[in-house]
Symmetry: C2
């Protein structure tokens, strides 16, 4: 690391005390307007950059928040990050980003990185493997505020930003019913993720509302590993009484399913209609284009960051069981309507 200009250097050059220089640089008002100018000019001239490590050490503040996401492959989480980072930056906060490759161990490791960096608050969406939340509880013990989004831990008493998965799923399935489908399968997510459960419940509610019998045989929870989709679709399509529609937990799953259906030369949507969830970039482009539920991705990140900053600044109580639910939108495309 090369030499860095310090407050001492500025003080020496100007032949004044370090404390005066420091006052100017911290925005302390009790400084002569003249000396302030002098210091500021000199700081600029020397290209002074505050040593944040020294500042953090003495102020016990890191001015940094963390974001931990389960993966980086779909565009969903990166877009959420953009939203969160924008808000954080406006408030003068740095952001540390970590992704977990959908791996629990990595998640725990990332939490420790956050701890080591003394972040003032954390925005999290957990991996699909995460069933144990002890690593999160350390943050609560240390009173570092946390905000969940998307994949939340419902048992934990912290603010969450979610979309109305129940309602989205409900409308997705109701749409399938409205176009005349009678036997709707569901490729569900792992039930440790609350989004899986909420979407499943929306699915069930829509069936019930329209007096369609629920058949456990065609409700398949899986671990979101896309290579499994083919197996489950083959199973569904080989049933004596196969489904005429599919509601998939998310778009990648739906897209995988579409490939299998196409390989079998079944007609979409006549033989099998498909709805996904998320409105991924790809969904509008594939053939047939995918009917799906879109989420306000960037807004999710913004909302989470706003919430977190309020918690950090004690503008809202850490214990307030705050859940921000954003709305979704049904986007109808050719996988359900020709």
């Amino acid at each position: 690391m090369s030499y860095q200009v310090t407050i001492k250097d500025i003080a020496k050059k100007l032949n004044i005390s370090k404390s005066t220089v420091s006052r100017v640089l911290t925005g302390n008002p009790h400084v002569n307007e003249n000396t302030r100018r002098l210091v500021l000019d000199m700081a600029k001239e020397l290209d002074y950059q505050k040593n944040i490590f020294a500042r953090n050490l003495v102020t016990h503040k890191s001015n940094t928040i963390g974001i931990i996401v389960p993966e980086f492959v779909t565009s969903f989480f990166p877009k959420v990050i953009i939203g969160a980072q924008t808000i954080a930056a406006k408030a003068g906060y740095n952001t540390i980003i970590a992704q977990c490759n959908e791996n629990y161990e990595t998640e725990v490791a990332n939490f420790n990185v956050m701890l080591a960096n003394q972040i003032e608050g954390l925005i999290v969406s957990v991996t699909k493997e995460t069933r144990n939340f002890d690593h999160l509880k350390i943050f609560q013990r240390k009173e570092i505020p946390i905000v969940f989004f998307n994949r939340v831990c419902e048992d934990m008493d912290v603010p969450k930003v979610v979309v109305d998965d129940y309602d989205g799923a409900f409308r997705a399935v109701e749409h399938l019913i409205e176009i005349g489908k009678k036997r709707i399968a569901h490729l569900a997510g792992p039930d440790n993720l609350s989004i899986s459960r909420r979407r499943l419940n929306g699915y069930l509610a829509a069936l019930r509302k329209h007096n369609i019998p629920v058949d456990e045989e065609i409700i398949i929870p899986y671990d979101l590993r896309l290579d499994k989709v083919k197996i489950y679709m083959n199973y569904l399509l080989s049933l004596p009484n196969p489904p005429d529609a599919l509601f998939a937990i998310n778009d990648p799953t739906a897209i995988e399913a579409l490939q299998v259906i196409k390989e079998k030369n079944l007609r979409i949507p006549e033989d099998m209609a498909v709805v996904g969830f998320s409105n991924d970039y790809t969904s509008a482009l594939i053939d047939p284009s995918l009917t799906t539920i879109s989420q306000p991705v960037q807004k999710i990140g913004e909302t989470a960051a706003e919430l977190l900053l309020q918690l950090i600044n004690n503008e809202i109580s850490k214990n307030s069981l705050l859940i921000k639910t954003l709305t979704t939108e049904l986007i109808i495309r050719h996988s359900t309507v020709r």
Copy 2:
């Protein structure tokens, strides 16, 4: 920020000196095996976490590298980051990630964030707007090593990780020629990006090798704003002598182009064959699937990080004009071959 356990606390509890505790914690070998155990146990018991700000302050090392990417929307850059982060983590380095929304001002701001965080090295791919590189030169002046990847600044004398764009483009175009195409258009990138120029050169070389005349009329550089693709495609297709194939600078561009061609009810690949570059997630899924050049995405990140760590550790000279060129692969799909 809540109370943090310090070396002092451990020392007090064990009634030994702080320096001994510190020795244990920094891996200094000159410590009695017995006291070492004692300290380690107590550290664990108290859940001690080293204050990295204090450590960084005194060691003048941040143990952190930075990665700046132009955008976060396509999966390319996030995947590169995964690769880089893996290598960095193995070497005990933290990673700070910043993305620029393809915006020059944001890029400059992000460079300052990196500076403020005293990163020991930086991995960068610049935005499509970046034509001025002064913000990079500050790093050279401070002797903070930089490694470029993908979108590099060729004038700067720093190591770079690229794929063989020239060769990839060459093979893409040669493939079009081999399937019988005679008039191949090119939607090129902005010429401030070297990848644009290298891919253009590969295109030109392939034409020349096969004695196909170069027609400037059907070589269109554009600013990578996808909404423009429609305009350019309409132009190309309305020419009195329209092209029978297209080589697009990247997959998103090619995919946009496919949409336009399909809307016009032209046959792909008979009337118009298309090749992209990158092998994005979507490319295999759209209809027709897109022939493209795939890049070893994660490997790019890994290579960049390895290079950077070597520079940081002075294992290679900062001035060595090092360019790592990774190879690409032609992936033939239905947009060129039925």
